[in-house]
């Protein structure tokens, strides 16, 4: 179980990407990186300085960046592209679709500042639709990490996977609580175990779920909290095992409820194990400017919303029994 001591170590999720990329650069000459004028924001500066011949500054030209990455992958490199999640997905969707996914290119699209927690920049720079867009592309792996360590480990892991991958992570500093957890693409992580409800969370909502855990325990509710970092391919076995035991599920993500992790899980439940599900996700709307803490509260993707949805889903479970 996660204890409170992690709260003291706040670390930027994106910094995990930057550190791992640097390490990869040092250990594997096939690793190249491309960035669209955001090396500071993506923590790619050190890579760009140390590996000048393997770093491509493309300017504010994301479409060209994605195409070039495909070309570099054809030539045998393992390209990592870096820009904000919005400009890594919706802006370049057709380029990803044709030149990477359909063409089966081993490109790692690294997408920072995902979700609404980018905060003050507002809806143009926030994105709540990218998981849905990218998971719909055949052959793409989609990963959404929750803290510094997980982003670090995921970055290392995807370098070995030889498949096109979308790695989504946030900007804010959050507790670095997955330091001691193994990371394996497609394998969920059980953080707490209980019997009343399964909370299945991804990205920054994992920490919010852990915060909710405390409140729930005080009220006598025990839960499985499962961190699903890989949205595609999904760890169906672990998810079904947990929900079979608890009989209901709350899914939690910093994404539109349409197209996100919750919908992927709803699909498995419909196919294999129809049980009540509640969604903690953004209700089909755009974000806005504000502080992270204000936004996650307003858009109902915080601890309080998780607690509420847990209670509701448990009630539904009892009625449906």
């Amino acid at each position: 179980m996660i204890n409170d001591s992690y709260k003291k170590e706040l670390k930027e999720t994106r910094a995990g990407f930057g550190e791992a990329l640097l390490e990869l650069g040092r250990n594997n000459e096939r690793i190249v990186a491309l960035c669209a004028d955001l090396t500071g924001s993506l923590c790619m500066k050190r890579f760009s300085e140390e590996f000048t011949e393997r770093f491509f500054q493309v300017g504010i030209a994301e479409s060209n960046m994605i195409g070039m990455a495909a070309g570099l992958a054809i030539g045998g490199c393992i390209p990592f592209t870096g820009t904000f999640a919005n400009f890594s997905s919706s802006r370049v969707y057709d380029q990803i679709r044709q030149s990477i996914a359909y063409s089966e290119k081993n490109v790692k699209i690294c997408a920072s500042h995902a979700g609404i927690s980018l905060g003050e920049d507002g809806a143009t720079h926030q994105i709540l639709e990218d998981i849905g867009m990218i998971k719909m592309l055949p052959g793409m792996t989609v990963i959404n990490t929750c803290d510094f360590s997980q982003t670090y480990k995921a970055t290392l892991a995807i370098s070995k996977s030889e498949v096109p991958t979308y790695l989504r992570f946030g900007r804010p500093s959050v507790p670095n609580f997955t330091k001691n957890h193994d990371f394996k693409i497609g394998k969920g992580i059980v953080l707490t175990e209980g019997n009343d409800v399964s909370i299945i969370a991804t990205g920054h909502l994992v920490w919010e779920s852990l915060k909710a855990y405390k409140t729930l325990v005080e009220e006598g509710i025990t839960c499985d909290i499962i961190n699903i970092h890989t949205i595609k391919p999904l760890d169906e076995e672990l998810i079904l095992q947990s929900i079979e035991k608890t009989g209901c599920v709350v899914t939690a993500e910093e994404h539109n409820y349409l197209g996100g992790l919750g919908e992927s899980i709803a699909r498995i439940l419909v196919n294999h194990l129809p049980k009540p599900q509640e969604f903690v996700a953004v209700n089909d709307t755009f974000g806005e400017s504000g502080k992270q803490i204000e936004l996650i509260k307003k858009y109902k993707i915080d601890k309080t919303s998780i607690v509420k949805k847990v209670k509701r889903v448990i009630k539904r479970k009892k009625v449906e029994l």
Binding site: S63, G71, L72, I74, G76, S99, E104
Partner: protein, 279 residues
Amino acid sequence: MIYLKEISLQTRRDILRMIHNAKSGHPGGSLGSTEYFIALFYKIMSFQTKKIEGKEEDMFFLSNGHISAVLYSVLARKGYFSIDELTKFRTINSRLQGHPSVYEKLPGIHVASGSLGQGMSVALGAAQAKTIYNDSYLSYSYHGDGEINEGQNWEAILYAGAKKVDNYIATIDYNHQQIDGNTDKVMHLGNIKMKFESFGWQVLEETKGNCINSVIKILQKAKKKAKKGKPICIILHTEMGHGVDFMNGSYQWHGKSPNDEELKKALHQLPETIGDYDK
């Protein structure tokens, strides 16, 4: 060179027979670009392994994927796959998709194209990979003139000039036609040569894009200018539908298949040389 002229005739027959059989496809640009493909694959590029990575060999990227018929014919006749497979063009369960794809593992295709404007970026990336791996071979790409309406090209053109990617030769098929009509009317391209030059490119122009000797010469000239600090662009003036009198110069044949009678009439103008593929 007489031999290459014979191959060009045969390629044009292939293009028309493939499109007629599929009852769909793009004869205009394919016929107009035949000399470029023959010159490139028979005289200019060096390739041995024919592997997707293209290491230690020249690589070609077709950006305007709709002229796939000419590419497939040339690839087949260069031994990438059997010429009999040309009968499968645009049919179900085929490797010869309407627009080129790697999904079905057709040899000779490095990346999918069809959604326009993406090929230059990919070819540039492949050129950069060659630089990283000290691979002295070149990256080539081919683009429609209408295609350069797409903004992504200009991102790539800016990049290649600014970063001096000089192991790369792009060719623009300047036939002045796109689906809705003359390029001057649909979206006036202005002075393409000056545009590329102002972006830091070395630009070569060839007005006889359907003369095999001229195309070989301009490509050889481009090759000599490679690795001298600038990306290279060839503006190749071609005639859409070249070789078939009723298709010559008309945008009407951009994406239309000939009917039985039209095919007969067209093939009559293009005598069989090295042998038709079997139906």
